[in-house]
Symmetry: C2
Subunit: 351 residues, 2 copies
DNA sequence: AACGCTTATTAAATCGTTTCAATTCTGCTC
DNA sequence: GAGCAGAATTGAAACGATTTAATAAGCGTT
């Protein structure tokens, strides 16, 4: 009898089990590819007995679905991507954890990546996400990416902004009132009798930091004696805090601040390290307050007062909003704004 | 004149620019889809003038390649995946950073995810990676996933094990000599005159921790007076360290250890917190040594002596090995074993 | 045994890109 | 201007899954 010639290198199983596909599974189970697909994606459509036979064939062959093909046909991808400003910062790690937990309950894989606060990297990552036709993206914008985000949205990818409220109501967002945070910090310092505050913080093009500074300035202006200076740092890590502190300590003693407000806790830790090394007493000589309330600020040489942001909750809420956007495309955009809280520790109060 | 009927909703640009594809670009640029593809993937095959025309069409339409289709046809994916034990642990974050930097130079996107030391999550992540036919995977195994990794390898996905040398020479790996690390830690404590050491550490099924314990035990056995007890914790975070410490402090004072060896720095920080809170002097009453030398251990209440692992280097080396495996499939497996070093700080020496 | 009616299964079309082989075009030599 | 090499371009066939609409099978009723 004549056989149709099969164009694959047919010895199949023997040759190289690298490429088992639905049709192999189907053949082994004695059904059609369509049935295999149904068994996988709509189990209720296929009888229990064939389902089992198919499962056995799958196990036997070690079949793993080719996601590219699936996606191409399905036209969509369940996964969502998240671009972090900096994985090395425990604050963002915690936000990511919150998002991940939430997404896991929605059975959506999360792809993490980080921009390192580099607009170019961010753009590259967005490009990847775009090419992958992800269901959604969680992003803390660093560069000028609004047009990219718009394009993503037009393409049907949901977008939620994390840790920053965009002016326009284009995207749902999760954020924290950074101006309030800045005010809280300064308020606390003034209450403790400090008058000359130095704020140390990463590049001003980071919205969050700019707002914290603005809040701080507002509060300072309400007092007629207090002063605020801003020491801009190129990055937001421990090293930045150390360098800035060296600068501050190099000044004549008379112009030294009596309090330092660090734009985040990593910077605060750096500041603390150099103050300790220079023999400056915290808080007696200089009080120190950080931002983010990462867990390490509580166990620092001198436990650091900090402005708490509900990191994990922010992540999970962002993920929740994202799922909303994905699942109900018509729904209005939503903004969740969290309130920062001050967590007072020794670095501003003394032992 | 008669037109062939196009099956797409043709108003195209007007209707919804969501779906510009090669054929739209081709039409606008007055060439065939094949040429567009060539312009994108093999620019040298297409003349400068058409290349430019195509580029203009792409910009005009906002065309973004559909990666699923590309992959399906190409059969491969440049991206590599990495499964971290815990993003919240700065050590792993730093390893990831190293890998990411290295991979960026090879123009390979990195997909991060974390298993949270949960075998089930790990398996799920591996499943995703498998379905995506990634070029390679960097993984620190937690569950029993050797068979999955083998399958990945058979399928053509490169695998490199991070932070653990598998017995068999199946996969290239990057690791640190954890037994030596354990010995170094105990050695240092004994040298400082400590005799009764308590090791506090996460689940023993984590290879790294088991090895650190073994190394510690070996060293203790070389002394006839020293003792070592092991306090197993279910996790490897700050909270675990705190809980274990409460247990230790609950014991009668006479049986208290005079030194604690924490299996990592997060645990060490937790231990330190509870010791401080209980008024136990570090290192006078109890010396403390951690592991990983994360940057926060240097700025703790009492700076913590720690065993340094070259995190970033490990990540970049792992990525390098992975690229080797991907690019030269025939090459032999390679193992890079880093040596840990002790970084001495106050927590074992006094001020 | 013919009839509806539900349930299981399948053949064939499709997703959007890349690639191969074939074709057209270009410029150049003799 | 015929002949030709090489470059530029293209039509049509993949890639591997899913889906739709159609077919087959089962099953109780009359």
């Amino acid at each position: 009898m004549a056989h149709k010639v099969v164009n694959r290198s047919t010895p199949g199983i023997l040759k190289c089990m690298a490429l088992a596909q639905v049709r192999d599974v189907a053949k082994l189970a004695g059904v059609s590819p369509a049935t295999v697909s149904n068994a996988l994606n709509h189990p209720e459509r296929v009888s229990a007995s064939t389902r089992q036979r198919i499962q056995e064939a799958i196990d036997e062959l070690g079949y793993v679905r080719n996601d590219a093909a699936r996606q191409l046909r399905a036209g969509s991808n369940r996964a969502v991507g998240m671009i972090l400003l900096d994985v090395g910062n425990p604050f963002f790690a915690e936000v990511a954890r919150g998002a991940e937990n939430q997404l896991t309950t929605s059975h959506r894989p999360l792809l993490l990546s980080n921009s390192n606060q580099d607009a170019e990297r961010e753009a590259a990552q967005l490009g990847l996400f775009e090419e992958q036709r992800l269901a959604g993206v969680l992003v803390t914008p660093v560069g000028n990416v609004l047009h990219r985000l718009r394009r993503l949205k037009e393409r049907g990818t949901a977008v939620v902004i994390v840790d920053r409220k965009t002016g326009a109501d284009e995207f749902s967002s999760v954020s924290v009132d950074d101006k309030l945070g800045g005010r809280l910090a300064v308020d606390h310092l003034l209450e403790r009798g400090r008058q000359h505050i130095a704020m140390v913080g990463g590049p001003q093009n980071l919205r969050q930091i700019k707002h914290r500074l603005q809040g701080a300035q507002q509060r300072v202006q309400q007092s007629d004696s207090a002063t605020l200076t801003f020491h801009e740092t190129p990055t937001t890590d421990v090293a930045a805090g150390r360098l800035a502190t060296l600068d501050i300590l190099a000044k004549p003693r008379s112009t030294r601040p009596d309090a330092i407000f660090a734009a985040n806790d990593l910077i605060a830790l750096g500041v603390l390290q150099e103050l300790v090394r220079a023999g400056v007493s915290v808080p007696d000589d200089i009080a120190l307050i950080g931002y983010d309330n990462i867990q390490f600020s509580a166990s620092a040489t001198t436990p650091i007062t900090s402005i708490r942001q509900p990191a994990e909750e922010m992540g999970s809420r962002a993920a929740e909003l994202l799922c909303d956007v994905i699942d109900k495309p018509g729904a209005p955009v939503q903004h969740t704004v969290f309130q920062p809280e001050i967590v007072v520790r020794e670095s501003t109060t003394g032992a």
